[in-house]
């Protein structure tokens, strides 16, 4: 198989917040640590983690729009070059685009058309938008609507349209199908698949493994702020081909595999155990899991577990 060009390489990425502890001490609160993801052109990578695990911050970090009290660490390499603040500024909205969760991310008081065109009125942007709308079977009248007037079916296509105004080479979809039923999910996902097939790298951030497996080429499993496994989507066909105990647990929790859930909850970032964050819930927990656990290549995927073979 021919190696495709890497569009974004995220190495050892971390995000932490400043926060007060009891009393007057300010501490850094690490929401994401040790996150590694690689996205190639034409590839769709899903980062799967449970809700509230800080996945959106990954998207904001790549775009350079983290809140002021957040600190980012690690390296982002975009198209072979370090992704600096200046490059982020220049690229976001054009080569690197975000598709948000819902229309709540649209300005409630600005009509759809002008909003997608970012207020531009020139002929070129008008024609471009008309073309995009045509491609998504959206009537031109939709451009005259306000976000609250959109129907559920239009919502998704309008949001994806916002991404198409630039020349996207990297599409970040942050939880793009919240609460949608499966038929709608498939339709939305097909839009992203299409983008990937046209050559863009797609980073799908979601809590729903089932959805991710429908369309993604690779799946990165995210647990308590850390990537625990980076596997081919095919590896999720059976439990044995998976590497990390948490991925296996996620697999067993899928409907077709018997809905078995494991005990316990993800630890809050403040009370992380030493070593492997999954340790306390893992049935193979040993002394060795208490140390620093590095990322290893295992059977073509990567895993952060001392036991994995």
């Amino acid at each position: 198989m021919e190696e495709k060009k890497v569009i974004l390489d995220i190495r050892n990425f971390s995000v932490s917040f400043e926060q007060y502890e009891k009393g007057f001490r300010k501490t850094g609160l690490p929401v994401i640590r040790n996150l590694d993801v690689t996205i190639r052109e034409g590839e769709m990578v899903a980062v799967v983690g449970s809700s509230g695990s800080g996945k959106s911050l990954l998207a904001h970090g790549i775009l350079g729009i983290l809140p002021y009290n957040a600190t980012m660490g690690g390296e982002l390499v975009y198209d072979g070059e370090l992704l600096t603040k200046e490059r982020q500024k220049a690229l976001r909205g054009n080569e690197i685009v975000l598709v948000p969760q819902s229309v709540a991310f649209l300005d409630p008081l600005m009509k759809i058309g002008p909003q997608i065109r970012k207020g531009k009125k020139d002929q070129a942007s008008r024609e471009k938008l008309n073309g995009i709308f045509e491609g998504y079977h959206l009537k031109n009248e939709v451009q005259e609507l306000y976000p609250f007037e959109l129907s559920g079916g239009m919502n998704r296509r309008v949001l994806v349209s916002t991404a198409m105004m630039g020349n996207p080479r990297l599409v970040i979809a942050d939880e793009p199908t919240p609460g949608l039923h499966m038929a709608m999910v498939r339709r939305v996902m097909s839009h992203f698949r299409e983008l990937a097939d046209q050559g863009a790298g797609v980073l799908l951030i979601t809590h729903d493994l089932e959805q991710a497996l429908e369309v993604a080429d690779r799946v990165v499993v995210f647990y308590a702020g850390t990537t625990v496994e980076d596997a081919d989507a095919k590896d999720f066909r059976s439990e044995e081909t998976l590497r990390h105990p948490y991925s296996k647990a996620l697999w067993r929790a899928l409907p077709q595999n018997g809905f078995q859930f494991i005990r316990g909850t993800q630890p809050y970032v403040k009370d992380l155990p030493e070593g492997c964050p999954f340790g306390p819930r893992c049935e193979w927990y040993t002394e060795a899991c208490k140390g620093e656990i590095s990322c290893r290549e295992v059977r073509g995927g990567r895993v952060r577990c001392v036991r994995a073979v």
Binding site: R92, V97, D107, Q115, Y146
Partner: protein
């Protein structure tokens, strides 16, 4: 959470009609509120141990009145009639445009208020527009970058002014401009000793400058602080975050999103400021001895001129509630979520 509807909801509603109903309801509410304000004010002056007739007995006012006029005063303020009837008599006359006689000015209250209001409207209109415009701009500049030096300066200034009593600010400005620099007159709306006809527009303006500036400065602080708060909210909103994610510059974000979204709350704020400007004018006019409605209110209160005090109260309530009503109507016209239907914002 947003609910997801699988199909477009067909809305066959008549929004123009709905808006009229909304406006109608608001208008009725306003009339009721004004009624209750007059009732409350009437009760307050009625329970006072200060008797307006006693306080003004022996004064020229009562002496120069006709029997009929005195009889009317006694119906309102005398102790013989039951309070409810007294109120109804007064309210009935008021509704017909007869606000009674001012005990101090020896003229119909309506006439006194008319003259004073004309003087005050100048001041208040200038202050209202200036404080609205300047406050809006300052609030946006401060809120655009929360925590920046500019924000700190603007916020600090506004907090300071908001904590400064209007009358003291007036005194300080008087000290600086009238006493120390001697560039502006000390008080009164016209030069003393000049015939009413001889008063020029220039005179009027000159005497209104300091009061208007004082009133504006006081008003700016509040509008700035509130606009800033809204701005901070907007800048932290999901849609601004997304706009930034789409590569929009700060300028573009302000032009496309901020102005639109801050305008609606600013509108409400601007009309709510009428009450504050009215209140401020009482203090400022008294300090500058500017013969407007505010000073008349103080004079009426100190001199037990109950008919005038009540008249001013009702008129100012009319302005305040009228302002609210206009704000509500404009809101419906401007906000597409109300104008174009939807469940309302």
């Amino acid at each position: 959470m947003v609910s997801w509807l699988p199909w477009p909801v067909i809305r066959e509603r008549n929004f123009v009609k709905e808006h009229f109903i909304f406006v109608g309801k608001q208008a009725v509410r306003m009339v009721l509120l004004v009624f209750f304000v007059s009732l409350a004010a009437f009760v307050l002056v009625s329970v006072s141990p200060l008797d307006p007739l006693q306080a003004n007995v022996g004064q020229a006012a009562l002496g120069s009145m006709s029997q009929e006029q005195i009889a009317k005063l006694q119906t309102y303020w005398g102790v013989d009639e039951p309070p409810v009837e007294r109120f109804l008599a007064w309210a009935g006359d008021f509704f017909r445009g007869d606000m009674g006689l001012s005990l101090l000015y020896r003229q119909p209250v309506a006439k006194v208020i008319g003259v004073k209001l004309a003087n005050s409207l100048w001041l208040m209109a200038i202050a209202w527009i200036l404080s609205g415009a300047v406050g809006f701009v300052l609030g946006i500049l401060a809120g655009l970058r929360e925590g920046s030096l500019l924000d700190k300066v603007i916020k600090g200034y506004s907090l300071l002014i908001a904590s400064t009593p209007a009358f003291w600010l007036a005194l300080v400005l008087l000290m600086i401009f009238a006493v120390w620099l001697k560039v502006l007159p000390i008080g009164l709306s016209v030069p003393i000793g000049v015939e009413a006809a001889g008063v020029t527009v220039a005179d009027r303006i000159q005497h209104a400058i300091l009061p208007a500036i004082t009133l504006s400065i006081t008003g700016i602080a509040n509008i700035t602080l509130h606009t800033r708060e809204k701005m901070v909210e907007i800048m932290e909103s999901d849609y601004v975050l997304f706009a930034r994610a789409r590569g929009e510059s700060t300028f573009s974000i302000v032009k496309n999103h901020v102005l639109r979204n801050v305008l609606l709350p600013a509108l409400t704020l601007q009309f709510a400021a009428i009450s504050e400007i009215f209140g401020g004018s009482v203090l400022v006019e008294q300090t500058f001895s500017y013969p407007g409605l505010g000073q008349a209110a103080v004079t009426a209160g100190l001199g037990s001129d109950v008919p005038l005090l009540l008249g001013i109260t009702v008129i100012s309530a009319l302005f305040v509630f009228g302002g609210n009503l206009i704000a509500n109507i404009l809101y419906g016209v401007i906000d597409p979520r109300i104008r174009r239907g939807g469940a309302g914002a």
